[in-house]
Symmetry: C2
Subunit: 218 residues, 2 copies
């Protein structure tokens, strides 16, 4: 029982820090999303395609979360956007205090869009609010069409679902309509995009949707 | 700091229960492995192919861990082996006490091989010993060849790596030699199998290896 209490306290503290982050983002009119998925579903690839499409059009910064290594941050750095790396050293999720620390290295007043790439984990990051506007969950077609039902919390907490690797559908036992149906069973309000980072299908639609979410400049 | 202490206490308690499980397995001459991976890497499919190949040859039981739903347990039940479902209801890993509970429904003296399918998560289950003989980590080719470096703890703790979905290699930007090289950088002792559950490639090799691990009968 004491474990539950402590877990609750950790989450309550996290929620307070997330609230502070959210106020800061609002003050500086920054649109922030937190991109989550299983390892290897394609978060970093989607981020790269997004940067290719949007960089130059809007001011973007990235916070890159990883359990180990700075491989992803190096991939992002090539796109010439301000990027901060958080290595959790075994930790299974980002939390609001790690984001607060990372924000010390990001010029929010010069940022319109902040993308936070979470650790590859479809379970734990669902419980940690970072102060983002919304969670974007990436589900790869290769993971099968039952994942929303098997890991419902993440799909419940997300505002957007990106179904990625649609170029591989001909070779898989995955029905994309079933996948989307299952996702909507869990969360009827989900906005769904279908992408392939190899063929770049769907990237434009996703990026144009982002542009529409940005707060109006003064 | 208090959080760290509590986490340590939880792990110490878990280690003690795992030790008890391990003794019980040894007493009944049961070979036990704990199969871990990201969501959708193919744990349940490998389990199904393994049961098809080994069922009737040796006596097998299964403990099936899931965050939600009994989909996987239903897939296993079709193979007519004793199977116990653990639903963690949001919990991100199995622990030794959950296994202890599940064991009340398994006749160990009538079991040669016990397969525990963990929750789909490449991070948290690495820290929880269940009393198994070894961890089997499944990495899907679709996740990319850098996963051992990005989630090293799981590859460090595993005795076997199954590289799954090798039938998809022609369509992916994944070099299987790089994947195996990266895995061996983290853990030089890893025994590696390459499988496709669609074409059944490699399933026989893997299953024959299992047979060789079984303790001799009295």
């Amino acid at each position: 029982m004491s474990i539950v209490t402590i877990e609750r306290k950790i989450l309550a503290k996290n929620d307070e820090l997330a609230r502070q982050n959210r106020e800061l983002f609002k003050k500086h009119k920054v649109f922030v999303f937190n991109i989550v998925s299983s390892p290897g579903a394609g978060k970093t690839s989607i981020l790269e395609r997004t940067l290719e499409y949007l960089n130059g059009k809007i001011k973007i910064a990235v916070i890159e979360g990883d359990v180990q290594t700075d491989f992803d941050a190096r991939r992002i750095a090539k796109h010439n956007v301000p990027a901060v790396q958080i290595v959790t050293r075994g930790g299974c999720h980002l939390d609001a205090s790690l984001i607060q620390e990372a924000l010390q290295n990001i010029e929010l007043k010069n940022t319109q869009l902040l993308i936070i790439e979470n650790v590859g984990n479809l379970v734990c990051p669902a419980n940690y609010d970072l102060g983002e506007e919304l969670k974007v969950v990436v589900a790869s077609t290769t993971e099968g069409d039952d994942k929303p039902l098997k890991y419902p919390e993440m799909f419940r907490k997300a505002g957007v679902l990106i179904v990625n690797k649609i170029d591989l559908l001909p070779y898989l036992d995955c029905n994309i309509e079933t996948l989307k149906y299952n996702a909507r069973q869990i969360n009827p309000k989900l906005i769904i995009f279908e992408t392939s980072c190899t063929t770049k299908t769907g990237v434009g639609e996703w990026c144009n949707w982002i542009i529409k979410q940005l707060p109006a400049a003064e």
